[in-house]
Structure formats: C-alpha cells, structure tokens
Amino acid sequence: MMVAITHKMRESIKKRIAVLTLILPAIVYITWLAAYYWLLEAGRYKAFIQPKLWPLLILALILLLSYIAAFISHFSGESGGVLKFEGWLQAAILFVPVVFLWTIYGQSLGSHALSKRALDTNQPFPMAGISPQRSSPATDDNASSLLKLIINAEHFNGKRVAAEGMVYRGEPSDRRRFRLFRFVVVCCAADALPLVIWVESKVEEKFNNDDWVRIEGIFSFETINGRQVSSIAADSVRPIPAPPPGKRYLFF
C-alpha cells in the first residue's frame, strides 16, 4: 500500500516537473519582463543605466511580450514527460542577473569602486580648450554638480561653490583632508567614471568613506604629486542623506 502511494507521489512530482520544464522558457521571459517593468516603474533603472536609455527598456518589454505571445501560440505538450537538464540550466543562468538585481538594488558604487577605477588624476575628461558654454552636459538640476564643477573648472576657479558627493579618505588619512567624489555614467554603471575633488576642511572631520556630504567653500587648483587637481577649501562640511538610488550618479 505504502509503496503504491510513494510510487503515485513520485509520478505526480515527475509530471509536475515535466510540465514546469515545458513552460520554463515562458517563466524566463515573464521574469525578465517583470524585471524590466519593475525597473521602469518609478525610474529604478537609473540606479544602473543612463536615464536617456529608457527607450531600450521599452524595447526589451515589447520584445519579451512578443516572445511570450509567440511561445503561447506555438506551445504544444508534445515533448512532455521529459526532464531536460539543459533547459533548467539555461533558465537558471538567465535568472542569475535578476536575483542579483533584486539583491543589489538600493546600493551604489562607492569608495571600493573608486579605489579600483580612479586613475592618478581626478579628471576623466580633459579640460584644456573646453569652454563652459561648449561643454554643458546634461546633469541633475543641482547647482552643486561635481560634473559641472570639473568640466567648467576654469570658470569656477577662485569662486565660492557648493558640491555634494561621497567621502573618500584613502590612506593615510589626514582628518582635515579627504576626497569628495561621485560617479558619472555614460551608458551604464559599468562604464562609470569617478569625479574627484580634494577637500581641505578647517576642522577635523569625522566622516567615513561613502558618507554623503555637502561642501561649501572656495574652488581652486592645487598641485599634488606633480599633478594639477581640483580642490575646495571648505568652510562648511555637513552630512546629507544619501540620495535615492536613481539619483546617486551623474549622467553625461
């Protein structure tokens, strides 16, 4: 009796897995469709890719919808009853980025990424010969965008400025000196370039790496290790809450 029940249960599980195997492609498409929809909703995608690229996400939605429709219209249970390991493996690999997406959302590139990406300079874009009028990239509405400051550095030299960004202390740490940084994104966070300004404060600051701060002071150039870098002699450094994930990067 028990053997018969166990056998029945095993058969039932096998059948369910087989059905699941059959509809696995649709589950993959629907998962990705949900992921892209979730990203588009409330602009969450800006935590990963350039806002101007929203049509790409719409394109992905449309194509995934059409794939689901095509799958349904051509669906047949002919190959039912066969458990295809290959199909499950394909699906599992395609699920990995979605799992990462939901795990990682809310985080952003910080001082760790800066330490790997920063070159021995603070300027991702060469400044020579660029007038402020000529280079007016789209940035956030904030007047204290690091991108504006760095690209229009000559224009701001000697002027009072305000800037917001994250703290990077590096080694060795002089509590009065630190670097203020943000990442500028061209297409996606994988190509994010760090924008860095040295900050010299009047008093010792207790901020740690990745703390968000607002700096006010005089913008100028100084030479560090034989290289000209942008710096702010700060008279005010105050903590600010981290912006929402979609507003942490600057966009070129």
Binding site: Y67, F71, H74, A113, R117, L119
Partner: protein, 362 residues
C-alpha cells in the same frame, strides 16, 4: 573563474548534445564529445552555484556591491540589444530565402568581405546584438569571410559609435575617422585571412546548433495571404525567443566575468606600466578585452585615459579591439564557431590591431 572560463571554452562540443542520437553515434569521437558536454554543463552549473553562493556569503560587503552593480548594469544594458539581435536573426531565418542571400553575397568572392565590414553603416548594431544576427546570416549562406568582417566591423563602423566617439573626444573628428577606418580595415583584413585559413564547414557549427526546445520551422507556402504572413511573423519571433534562451546565457556569464575583473583589478595597475615603451598599446588592448564595455560607451573610458598620459595609439587600440573581442563576445562566439576558429579569430584580431597601431603611429 579562470577554470570556469576554460571549461566554458570547451562548450563547442556541447552542441552535439542538440543533435539526434544517431548524429552523435556517427561522430568519430562521440565519447569525447559527450564528456566535454558534461564538463561544460558542470561548468555552467558551477557558475550558477558560485554566483548564488556569493549572494549568500558576501551580500553586505562593498566588493559584492561593486560586483553586483556592474554585473547587473552590463546585463540590463546589453539585454535589449541581445533581444533585438535575436529578433532580427529570427526574421532572417523565416523571411530571407537562402537563394537571395547567396545571390547578393556569393560564396568565394573576395569583394563580399568589403561589403560585410561596412554593413554597420546602414545597420547599426552593437556587439551584443551582432552575434545572433551573424549566426543566422551564416546559416543563410553568407560567405564565412564576409560574416567575420561584419562581426568585427559592424559594432565599430556605424553612425552611433561615430557619434559617441565624437562626443567623448569633444568633436575631434580626426579620432572619429581614424576609429572608423581602423575598424573597417581590420575587419576586412581579418575577414580575408579567416577566409583563407578556414572553410565555413571547418569554422562554423552546423545547422544542428538550433536552439533546444525549438521546433524546426515548417515550410509555409508563399501564398501572399495575410494569414500566412502572420504565421511567418509568429514563427520568426518563436525562433528569436529560442535563440535568446540559447545565446543569452553566454551574455550573462561573460558579463559576470567582466564584472569580476572590474571589481578586482585596479585600473591604476594598468596605468602604472604605461611608461614602459611598447606597453601602452598592449595594456589598453588587454583592458578592452577584460572590461567588456559597450562600443557606444567605450570611447568615454578611452578618453578618460588621456589625462593619464596614455598615448593616442593605445586609446585607439582600446576603442578598436573592444567591440571586436572581449570575454562576453568570446563566450557568445562559442555558439557560432568551433573552438579552433575562435582561437585563430581572437589571435588574428589581437595581433592585427596591435600591429596596425604600432605601424600607423610609428
């Protein structure tokens, strides 16, 4: 990760898995093939387990945040192009008759390579979209060397890449033109060389490499009826959907490898050896292979090296090689070409880019 990559390299043999059993039986080394397919399956399984274990073990570390954001960003940006590429491939499969393709681009004609390398001007696709398209074009009878030229030239010689390069270099048109010319010239050169070294049969997986779980497209009579067209479109999309499942995983694995490199390797390490003569070009080429950037964004990263005194030839090498050869592309090539052909293609591309930069900027 290197072991994982190595195992994935052996993936070409996995294609035999999709063949009917009789096909495998007639294969001279059928047993080896089965073993290889098993090892590559293990490699892929290992990839899934490895990535998921990272989430459980390191999710609160800054390294994981960097890795996760880069990985997800690459996949999110590349996936729509990949979907588009598979859709185009599906439409080629269903709507473009083989006879027409072979009439437009006949086999054995050297001039087809020159056309292939320049198709990107009319048909701008990035490197993520191009692999499924090339796969279908090859199945439709496009000459091997012309397909290689399109594969290498398409992601560079196109208006979108020209525009992004112009923006990154502040409208320095000489750099834009140089990039386009190098991209075109190298695509033609490597295409011709590959055509001399390989036949299509030796280099490309046969048509049995169709996506698993996908029924072969039934022949639809050319009646011209709207219903037939709707059915054809449905078939094309169905083909595309199958291709997406089939090739998409390589994009995921490649993007993850690129994210690992970006997370662990400091760019300053590359910049530090720039002063050594001859090194800058090689280092920037290596960086291009490892970073896996989109061809529409790589110019900005290349331009960022300008202020680190990286010479122009090295920046150019970065911008020319990146769209032709990187980790994710190599993994995606495995779905189209046999391993020896990929090894030769990668080597030829790397050497040609290096020599071009050395000679042209001497």
């Amino acid at each position: 990760m290197l072991i994982l990559l190595f195992l994935c390299f052996k993936y070409d043999k996995l294609l035999n898995m999709n063949r009917p059993a009789s096909d495998s039986a007639i294969c001279e080394h059928g047993r080896d093939h089965r073993q290889s397919s098993r090892s590559s399956r293990y490699a892929q399984l290992l990839f899934v387990l490895f990535t998921l274990s990272l989430i459980f073990l390191f999710r609160d570390t800054p390294q994981f945040h960097t890795l996760g954001i880069i990985f997800v960003s690459i996949v999110l940006e590349a996936m729509p192009f990949m979907l588009l590429g598979t859709l185009i491939g599906g439409f080629i499969e269903v709507f473009v008759p083989r006879e027409k393709v072979t009439r437009w681009l006949p086999e054995g004609r050297w001039w087809t390579v020159f056309i292939g390398a320049g198709i990107g001007v009319l048909f701008p696709v990035c490197e993520c979209a191009i692999v499924p398209v090339v796969r279908k074009l090859l199945q439709k009878g496009v000459p091997f060397s012309a397909a290689i030229a399109f594969l290498l030239g398409g992601p560079i010689v196109n208006p979108l890449v020209a525009a992004s390069t112009a923006v990154a270099y502040f409208a320095d048109w000489s750099i834009v033109i140089q990039r386009m010319l190098f991209g075109y010239g190298i695509a033609v050169g490597v295409g011709l060389l590959m055509g001399l070294l390989f036949t299509k049969a030796k280099a490309v997986h046969d048509q049995a490499s169709r996506a698993p779980d996908l029924k072969p497209a039934p022949e639809i009579p050319e009646t011209g009826r709207p219903a037939a067209w709707v059915e054809k479109i449905g078939l094309a999309v169905n083909h595309a959907a199958g291709d997406f499942l089939d090739i998409g995983r390589f994009l995921v694995i490649g993007a993850f490898c690129a994210a690992v490199v970006q997370t662990l390797v400091p760019r300053q390490a590359f910049a530090a050896v720039m002063g050594t003569p001859g090194f800058p070009i090689l280092i920037m080429m290596l960086l291009a292979v490892l970073l896996n950037l989109c061809s529409e964004a790589d110019a900005f990263v290349a331009a960022s090296f300008r202020s680190s005194l990286v010479p122009l030839p090295a920046q150019m090498a970065f911008m020319v090689l990146g769209p032709m050869l990187d980790i994710k592309l190599i993994l995606m090539y495995l779905k189209v070409f046999r391993a020896p052909a990929i090894a030769v293609l990668a080597s030829l591309t790397f050497i040609t880019v290096f020599l071009s930069m050395v000679v042209m900027y001497k």
